[in-house]
């Protein structure tokens, strides 16, 4: 039975200039698990946020049970029966499970006091009805990842009982925890709920979804019954990138030299699992992953922000913690972080200072004081990446793409033993992207070891000499050819 219809929804973000959704339509039926799939940035999350009232579409209609509705807030969507389970935990970690469930709708005693017992009772009632087993008295901190996920599902169910939107619910769960989640989803489906399931793991989609809607670059690509799909064909639908041209043009002979970066069976809580890798000088190694497979965690260990729970991580024979500080300033390691605003740039300083920040002490005292040399040096570095005459602009007045260029100008200048480039093309247009990639190739040819971490498979395909897919914290080697890539990225067997 048709429950809700989303008709030609469009959304444009003027800030970033992206057309996130372009006339996308979606039907939701009762008792059905409807998977919403697509690559990173295909528009899945935007669509989900519109479904749940967090965002308003620029155009398009939402028809619920035959009536057109408008959502001005998530509360409106909840009242209409649509509940949301976010990808990352949105629970107050120090409060108990029942407190979290009651938040915003607290039962009261005498009109003002929070009725804790009543909240616990309501919690147990709901748990009983849907078969949840979370302890209402435990704080969120004491709950396991899958219990937290269950709690968030309970929260959505408590407010809205018709449609449940699950945003990549398994991204932080292990295999076992995932399968218990699937049991739960099946049970919910049987009770007549409609479930919108966002994911890019082909195996689990075939496992639980009835229908699959594929988004690509903000457009509806296809909507298929899962019975007609195999894991391979679904994987091909999800990973749209045309990877067949991969490695056609940049085939200089790889002269892999000595090992610069070495990972030996490193693990980090549940996100990275005994990962081993060696990157040698004169090669570009690409690691690509869809969201929630451990790429961020891997980056945080490589940058020295987090230490692996077990295993060894060595850069030029040293731990990354020791690499930070003095060593880095001797231009041995370049690092382009994904979170450039937080760590890659100093937002309240000029573009010029950001560019020369790593080589401040290369200038002599008098040279720096005169002010001319740093300026010309910054000009030279920035010009190399197409940023002209903006040495004195504050970084926070520049667009995302230009910020990325400033950061690349600093990090990819001169010779480095190791380059760790995490999503180096984020926010860049095609021209700037090829500029950065050419520079990375050139650095490889000069003998740098380059590790490319990218959530965009095309990056790895067009640049790397060797590529891996990171899936659930483990590396799978990638061979050229589209089908195999898609399978590895989505975990298709």
């Amino acid at each position: 039975m048709l429950l809700a219809a989303f008709d030609s929804i469009s959304k444009y973000f003027p800030d970033t200039g992206t057309r996130a959704l372009n006339s996308v339509s979606l039907d939701i039926n009762t008792g059905e698990v409807h998977a919403l799939v697509g690559e990173n940035g295909a528009g899945k999350s935007t669509l989900a946020r519109i479904l749940c009232g967090f965002l308003r579409p620029d155009s398009g209609r939402i028809v619920l049970r035959g009536r057109e509705v408008q959502f001005y807030s998530h509360k409106d969507a909840e009242r209409a029966g649509i509940g949301y389970v976010p990808q990352y935990s949105m629970l107050a970690h120090g409060l108990t499970a029942s407190d979290n469930l009651a938040l915003g709708h607290e039962p009261r005693k005498l009109g003002i006091f929070y009725d804790r017992r009543r909240a616990e009772y309501d919690f147990l009632l709901l748990a009983e009805r849907f078969g949840f087993s979370v302890d209402p008295l435990k704080t969120v901190l004491q709950l396991s990842q899958s219990e937290r996920r269950e709690l968030e599902i309970m929260r959505a169910l408590a407010r809205a009982g018709d449609i449940l939107v699950l945003d990549e619910p398994t991204s932080i769960l292990g295999e076992k925890e995932s399968s218990s989640l699937f049991t739960l989803i099946r049970r919910l489906k049987k009770s007549g709920l409609a479930i919108v399931y966002i994911s890019h793991r082909s195996g689990e989609i075939l496992d639980i979804a009835d229908r699959v809607t594929v988004l690509m670059d903000g457009k509806l690509k296809s909507s298929v019954d899962t019975k007609e799909l195999t894991e391979q064909s679904l994987a091909k639908l999800i990973v749209s990138a045309d990877l067949s041209f991969a490695k056609a043009e940049c085939k200089t002979k790889v002269n892999a030299g000595k090992t610069v970066l070495e990972l030996e069976e490193i693990s980090l809580n549940s996100s990275i699992d005994k990962l081993s890798l060696a990157v040698k000088s004169g090669e570009i190694v690409g690691i690509t992953a869809l969201d929630g497979n451990g790429l961020e965690e891997l980056e945080s260990m490589l940058s020295g922000e987090k230490s692996p729970d077990s295993g060894k991580l060595r850069i030029l024979g040293m731990e990354p913690g020791a690499m930070a500080g003095k060593k880095r300033s001797h231009h041995t390691v370049a690092y382009l972080p994904t979170d450039r605003e937080a760590r890659g740039l100093c937002m309240k300083a000029s573009a010029g200072l950001n560019a020369v920040a790593a080589k401040l002490y290369d200038f002599g005292f008098a040279e720096y004081a005169r002010g001319r040399s740093p300026l010309t040096e910054a000009e030279r570095m920035l010009a190399g990446f197409g940023v002209k005459a903006w040495q004195r602009r504050r970084i926070d007045s520049l667009s995302g793409g230009n910020r990325q260029r400033v950061m690349a100008a600093r990090e990819l200048d001169g010779q480095k033993a190791l380059v760790i480039a995490a999503n180096p093309a984020q926010g860049l247009d095609a021209a700037a992207r090829s500029l950065v990639f050419e520079r990375l190739s050139a650095m490889r040819d000069e003998g740098s070891a380059v590790l490319l971490l990218s959530s965009d498979p095309e990056d790895a395909a067009s640049l790397a000499d060797r590529s891996f897919a990171l899936y659930r914290g483990s590396l799978l080697p990638l061979e050229a050819g589209s089908a195999a890539w898609a399978s590895s990225l989505t975990g298709a067997e």
Binding site: S73, H74, L91, G94, L103, Y114, R155
Partner: protein, 292 residues
């Protein structure tokens, strides 16, 4: 033993006026806007209590003090939200402004910028005729104003711990997203928490006036800052913070009483609680929950 009772008595007296401020500071800290203007707000409350109390009696003074300080704190929060001014800068400005304004108004109202005795505002003791602090029971022979202060602390603590609003404020400090997911407005929760911290400052100020029976310039004497330190040392927990505040009060009382048996002058003894507290800050919150 007697000395111990005296010290306990003194510390209870100091703690009484400090305690609502601690809970107020905690309320502001819960919502992520540690109210550094508390010191000034206590003074604003004290002055309002003195000025209104002088004419309309102590009850009016209490109410006026809480209303004035509460509204000022709320307005300051609105001001920094609307104008984009840094809440730290606004707090500093207010801490400078309130003593100055109190002094100016004191000149206008009381015709003095110094101490203004207001004997009729001095509240009585619980057990009149019993020498305070001479025996165990007389330790609790505080003034009514001290009990009023403790009562306002308990009321505030009840609001923070036992009401829906308190749950929401605590949740907001832990994760703003949780509050948003619950369909609530973080901004309004913040403003109300700041209002509460102002009310607390006002109550403390009024009870200071009532326990001294006078308006004294700068009578807040750093209580606002001590409350912030107590919240830090107490690991942002109600009981921990109150305990930290009490320990500080005890140290201060001990320093005052110690003159009688130590050959050290007051000023030196008074310095000790501050140093001890500063040093203990280096060891971090004493009552923090792990895994935060």
């Amino acid at each position: 033993m007697k000395l111990f009772y005296f010290t306990l008595f003194d510390s209870l007296g100091y703690f009484a006026a400090l305690s609502p401020v601690i809970v107020g500071a905690l309320a502001s800290d819960y919502v992520g806007r540690l109210n550094i203007a508390l010191e000034g707000l206590i003074l604003a409350g004290a002055f309002t209590a003195a000025a209104l109390g002088a004419r309309f009696g102590l009850a009016a003074g209490y109410l006026g003090a809480m209303a004035a300080a509460g509204i000022l704190a709320w307005l300051a929060d609105k001001f920094s939200q609307k104008s984009g001014a840094d809440s730290f800068v606004v707090g500093l400005g207010l801490n400078m402004a309130f003593p100055a304004f109190a002094s100016i108004l004191s000149l206008v109202i009381f015709n003095t910028k110094g101490v203004m005795p207001l004997g009729h505002l001095l509240s009585g003791r619980l057990l009149p005729g019993v020498e305070p602090g001479s025996s165990f029971f007389s330790v609790f022979n505080l003034r009514y104003s001290d009990y009023a202060s403790i009562a306002s602390m308990l009321a505030l603590a009840m609001i923070m711990q036992c009401t829906a609003f308190g749950r929401r404020a605590i949740a907001l400090g832990m994760k703003e997203d949780a509050v948003l997911m619950a369909g609530l407005q973080p901004g309004s929760i913040r403003s109300r928490a700041l209002l509460l911290s102002g009310l607390a400052g006002g109550a403390a100020g009024a009870s200071l006036v009532a326990s001294v029976g006078a308006w004294v310039p700068n009578m807040s004497a750093g209580r606002g800052w001590i409350a912030l330190v107590a919240v830090y040392l107490g690991g942002r927990q109600l009981f921990g913070s109150l305990l930290a505040g009490f320990i500080f009060a005890f140290l201060l009382a001990l320093a005052t009483r110690a003159q009688s048996f130590l050959a050290l002058p007051t000023d030196i003894l008074m310095a000790i609680p501050y140093f001890l507290t500063a040093i203990s800050m280096a060891f971090g919150p004493a009552f923090s929950k792990k895994n935060y």
